[in-house]
Amino acid sequence: MNWLQRHWDARAAANFMLGGAGSGLMVAALFVDDPSVPVILSLVLVASGLTAVWLEIGRKLRAVHVFFNPFTSWMTRESFAALLLFPLGIGALYVPPALPFAAAAAATFLYCQARILRASKGIPAWRAPQVVPLIVLTGLAEGAGIALVFSVNEFLLFLFALAVIARVIAWWRYRAAVRTSALEPAGKTLVWIGTLAALVLVFVPPLAGLAALAAGGWLKFVLVTRASFNQGFSLPHLPVRGSR
């Protein structure tokens, strides 16, 4: 009996899409000639994602309570990472050596996002350990993809290609562990558009980047909102009804 969770809808998915791409972009900004616009965009994306998820919570005025459980909650940890990311990101605009620190905060943020899904024990498509590299690499590939819009250098292109290939490997490993038919179309898009087309299009870097971004975003949207089936209930033993 499958039960599709409806607690997290497009607003929560937006956090994974925008926040993932944004944090990936902050990491990619390390390899961009002039990182200021990418850094600003990264912060805007992460902020937009957090705003979207803020719109989803039931008690918006209490949002600060999100910081109360750093001991076990990856959501709290994600929030702290965001809390670091913004001053460091803004600082990097003025003090460029701060950028690696901002990128580290962004990577932490991205990792937290992956662990948020991984900690959701009710949902087989999320709780699989393979979801962590998939989410992290998707964020990095998306970030690198966006970075290609602003700056093209061979190293960045190389990193982009590497991230895209790593992502598709992560996808295949994830798919081998988690068979979710709801993800199949988005998975195909990831392979064909987000990977193959993106790699073919490296000669038109912005297009390649956008292809990787779009496919990754779509995969995360589907993962959060449409493939998020609770495992349901199952009976390891059937009740004995009277004598056999």
Binding site: R241, G242, S243, R244
Partner: protein, 881 residues
Amino acid sequence: MTRKVATYCYQCVAGPDLLTVKVRDGVATEVEPNFAAADVHPGGGKVCVKAYGLVQKAYHPGRVLQPMKRTNPRKGRNEDPGFTPISWEEALSLVTGKLNEIRRKGLLDESGYPRVAASFGGGGTPQFYMGSFPAFLTAWGPVDMGFGSGQGVKCYHSEHLYGELWHRGFTVSPDTPLTNYLISCGANVEASGGVAGVWRHANARARGMKRVQVEPHLSVTGACSAEWVPIRPKTDAAFLYALIHALLHEEPRSRLDLEFLYRHTSSPYLVGANGYYLRDPGYGQPIIAGSLEAKETHVALEVGPDGDVLAEGRLEGETAFAKLVAHMKPYSPEWAQAICDVRAATIRRIAREYLDAARVGETIEIEGRRLPHRPVAVRLGKTVTNGWGGYECCWARTLLALLVGALEVPGGILGTTVRLNRPMSERHKSVKAGPDGLMNYPFNPTDAAHWSAQPNIRNAYRSMVPLAADGPWSQALGPTHFSWMFLDETPPGLPRVTLPELWFLYRTNPAISFWDNAALENRMARFPFVVAFAFTRDETNHFADILLPDAGDLESLQLIRIGGSKYIEQFWDHEGFALRQPAIAPRGQARDFTDIATDLAARCGLLEGYNAAINRGTLGVPLKDLSLETTKSFSSEQIWDAVCKAASRELTGGAEAHGLDWWKEHGLATRPFPRTAWYLYPTLAAKGLRFEMPYQERLLRIGRELGRRLHEKGMKWWDKQLAEYQALPAWKDFPSEWEASLAAMGGDGKDYPFWLLTARSMQYAWGGNVGMQLIKEVADNVAGHRGVILNASRAKELGIGEGDWVRIATPKAEVRARAVLRQGIRPDTLLLLGQFGHWATPHAREFGMPSMNPLVPMSLELTDATGSGADLVRVSLRKAA
């Protein structure tokens, strides 16, 4: 301030459930079991899910809270009745104006039918809410209560009639506390047995009882059974016959309870060449053979219908048992396999398990008495026990008990209540000697001197159905669809069926719960004056002229009998009374039903007869020296105070006479009810009477006599039904009756390949609670409440997916439902749970859940000899575009 008020719920026949209502600051908030009743109630004092809807019911925003009058004289589904609020004074003036006009004209109309009719729903349960209204009806005189809303045709009809005949079993139950092996043909006890049923069967399972559930779909009862046998619909008789065949022809005779058969049944009666008992020429009593299976020659008479002497002199006879053995010879498990789609080996195994579990020869001590112990039972469900084949199934079921001595003994099958024999409150007292050493039965007369073609009510039960008897319940046990059918075309020989001039409705919704709803609506629309006691607007009171709001379940006063032995699994170790009392003040202008009844009686000048009826015991207890002065009007509190005192006296042998205040505080009072009273066998044995099984000589004679009477009046339209009067019923191709009905509608079997069935929903059955959001919400957790159940593989073949809209149709009508795909149903069967399809009832009209009822025709051809039909129809299934 929070307080708990003790009361009862009797929304269904499996009640009453004893409960408390938590009332906070005058608002009822919560139903809980009455834990004080845990020790006296057979279900641990627990309360069925339906009762939890009572709180919401009290505050339902769709409630009718003031009297209303119709302003649109045109009646029809698409006509807005234009109900406008009026005062109680105006409402009662209008009603009593009409009643008094009728009294002036005469209580019977030109056809001899009562001008006043009344319909009540749910297996008689409305009487537990209508206060003293029965006393008003008694004072009024003849009332036609035969306009059915399902009773008579959607009940366990053959069981009611034949069950009472054979063992005072209007309802028949296994002795669940002791039964170890139960064959359950379609009986959905986990849905229809109420708290006591569920509680007891859970205990029985824990004890190790094996229940084999034989039914086309896997019901909740099937789910909770040890084994499911998915039988082809309406072939249960063949399955049961094969079990009997196996016991009679494949097992050593010595394994049967031969002593019981010889001493306590009519098995050793000698049957003559014409099929009637050989009788002693002097005393006229049947001659009993020296052994169970014998052919003997005696100087004897063989007397047929109307006292015709068919033979006399030295006559050879064969015992009824020997005839039975020969009769069952063809019905082998292999024969049944082809009919039922159940493997012969399975049938044979079940027969052997049944026999092994029967413990023939063993005894058990109950309350110091040693009684036979036969922990095996067969139970039958609705659609098995009504319509064609119902007689055969009931006969086979009773016979299966008979063969191993498991009839009315510990562990076997028990009749749990009587409704046609008197007194209704005590089945043992209804055991009176009748002819031929058998129990008496109040058949309607079929002899030339007493049979009458002038029925007392429109469904003509007295003329057509001898087994329906002629007591207070008989009207509802006749062919209740005839009242509706004959309105347009009365068959020859009966006085033209007329519209009642005034029709009372209470807790009933025939526009939903009866068949062929469209035809029914058209007829109801012609009723000139309809008075509905209304909870909310509904599909039937849509045709009413006056709506009267009676105070609801938690708002009014009534004392009822509880315990003893009642419907289904309601046989208790205690008996007594329980009070329903106002937990909250009546909402709006709702009035206590007793006050309404008193007002009606006073306005009709019937106060004397009304009070006299109350004094005689119409409200459940004779008042004796507490009698009310007959010329005065009394308040509901005064009336029930007197009833409470009389009940107290009855319970305590006169020692106490607690009034209403005491009962309000305590809610209930009981005394022990002996368990030996569950079993009828000792009473029959003590009176030297035998069970009238297996041979039905009386029914054969009555059938022949009835045939003669009808033919004398030129009435040939009942001939098919007359054929059911057989001494030893033969298997007939019962499913073909419904296939023929399809053909009569212009359908070809291959285009309509599915059997459409229904099943009870515990959350709704009998409850009239379809408007309760709470009930809808929780019921939806049980498969089938959101659409039609069909076999998942078959659905795949048809390209139908879960939740798809499908069209279910006969050549005449169609309903739409969402598909619910399940494995637990035969591929040739569809199931529509409950009875929905509402279009006027608030909340329920938004369900989008249909009923099978619009698809089922009302048909003389599908009416069996007892006047019943079955919830069964052949349909097509298509994905909706």
